[in-house]
């Protein structure tokens, strides 16, 4: 929203007139009814379950309805170690979710492979195949961390602009909503990563705007 419109809105509200925009109402509705997929992989899933229970009560954020079908879910919380044998199924579940859809990579394993990074059977981060919106470090992260990630995601949804070049992916007709499912190769997954997703830079609508500051990539890149 342009600045002069924002000022006008504030001016009007001072005089008892409430105004809003379609974008605000739409995003407000979306961010308060993010339904996650019932999907857990390892010990992080136990923390995710704890987050939904009465003590931490994820229902306060409109996310109490875990959907057992990807076709009804808005969010996939990748909670735990993604093994190479499981990775194609995770990508397939993500592909089956309707847009707009979001991904939280929960815990050290989901974001990088974690303590099992050097194992022969562990995927070194789910962001090699699907675009991740929020990364949570921790092993496992506490429920508070997941709630913080959830609030970060809500903030991100709230800030999405419905028009303009930087509108989210689901409003770009020419951007993909499905990503290639890796295949089982002779030595590992093929390809080892979806380069377009993995290297997508900040501001690229294909990739989520990462919370971390742009720095030098820690991975070797062969030109």
């Amino acid at each position: 929203m342009a600045d002069d419109l924002k000022e006008l809105k504030i001016e009007l509200s001072k005089n008892g007139i409430f105004t809003t925009t379609l974008e605000e109402v739409y995003n407000w509705g979306r961010k308060n009814s993010v339904w996650p997929l019932t999907f857990g992989l390892a010990c992080c899933a136990i923390e995710m379950i704890a987050t939904t229970m009465a003590r931490y009560d994820l229902a306060r954020f409109g996310a109490e309805v875990f959907r057992p079908s990807p076709r009804q879910a808005d969010l996939i919380i990748v909670s735990g170690t993604v093994t190479k044998k499981m990775a194609p199924q995770v990508v397939r579940l993500y592909n089956q979710m309707p847009e707009p859809k979001y991904v939280i990579a929960m815990g050290a394993c989901a974001i990088s492979g974690g303590p099992f990074r050097d194992g022969y059977n562990v995927l070194k981060g789910i962001d090699r195949y699907i675009p991740v919106d929020v990364h949570i470090p921790g092993c496992p992260p506490r429920p508070e961390a997941l709630i913080h990630a959830f609030m970060t995601l809500q903030k991100k949804i709230d800030e999405q602009s419905l028009r303009g070049a930087d509108r989210p992916r689901h409003l770009h007709a020419d951007l993909p909503s499905e990503f290639p499912v890796p295949a089982f190769g002779e030595h590992g997954l093929e390809p080892a990563q979806n380069t377009e997703v993995f290297l997508a830079e900040q501001g690229n609508p294909l990739s989520p705007q990462r919370a971390s500051s742009p720095g030098t990539p820690t991975l070797r890149v062969i030109q």
Partner: protein, 202 residues
């Protein structure tokens, strides 16, 4: 009833099954738990004997695991007498140190831990060794004797490449069918997937 000693069990096996060779393997660790190395030909007969013997009754196979013993090179210094040219040019016989290197071929090993539910004793540890690590990696399967060995022998096949002859359903159990490596072997090198092959954008 206490468990008989490994030597005692060996004597009973050799008396019960003519031709079976059983070697007691020492264990240098603090537990000093000794084990019995079986020959391939009689392994299944020995297993049946241990299971059905009235005093042993080893009716429960709790664990099967693979072990990889890679090829090693032993370096030793030996004193040899040979002709050596002295400072004056004259050759004389002297005692010289010589370094000798001998290659010890590796092998793959399957280890079985047996207990008796009926007699409440155990464990008895069995070992089976393959001829080498490359092409002769076959061992007799003990699944026909203990059903509980089925999945664990599949796991040893999957991760170490030990082929169990006589196994009812020998397939990979953890890795997918098209996988060709044996990831728990000492010389396994995981694929270097930190290198990004780009060309799209970087």
């Amino acid at each position: 009833m206490p468990l008989p000693s490994p030597e005692d069990i060996t004597a009973r096996i050799e008396a019960g099954i003519p031709g079976a060779t059983v070697t007691v393997i020492a264990n240098g660790s603090p537990s000093a738990q000794r084990s019995l190395l079986l020959d391939h030909e009689h392994a299944r007969a020995v297993a049946k004997f241990l299971r059905d013997h009235a005093e042993l009754r080893l009716d429960f196979c709790s664990l099967v695991t693979g072990v990889d013993w890679p090829d090693t090179e032993v370096t030793e210094k030996v004193k040899v007498r040979k002709l050596v040219a002295g400072p004056d040019g004259a050759e004389s016989e002297q005692e010289v140190d010589e370094v000798r290197k001998t290659k010890v071929p590796g092998y793959l090993e399957a280890v079985y831990h047996l207990f008796s539910m009926e007699m409440k004793h155990g464990p008895v540890v069995l070992r089976l060794r393959t001829a080498n690590r490359a092409d002769k990696t076959h061992l007799p399967s003990l699944t026909p004797v203990w059903r509980s060995a089925e999945f664990q022998e599949r796991e040893a096949f999957d991760l170490y490449g030990i082929v169990f002859d006589g196994h009812p359903d020998l397939r990979r159990i953890l890795m997918w069918d098209g996988f060709v490596d044996y990831p728990m072997r000492k010389d396994y090198v995981p694929p270097d997937d930190d290198i990004l092959i780009t060309g799209v954008k970087a």
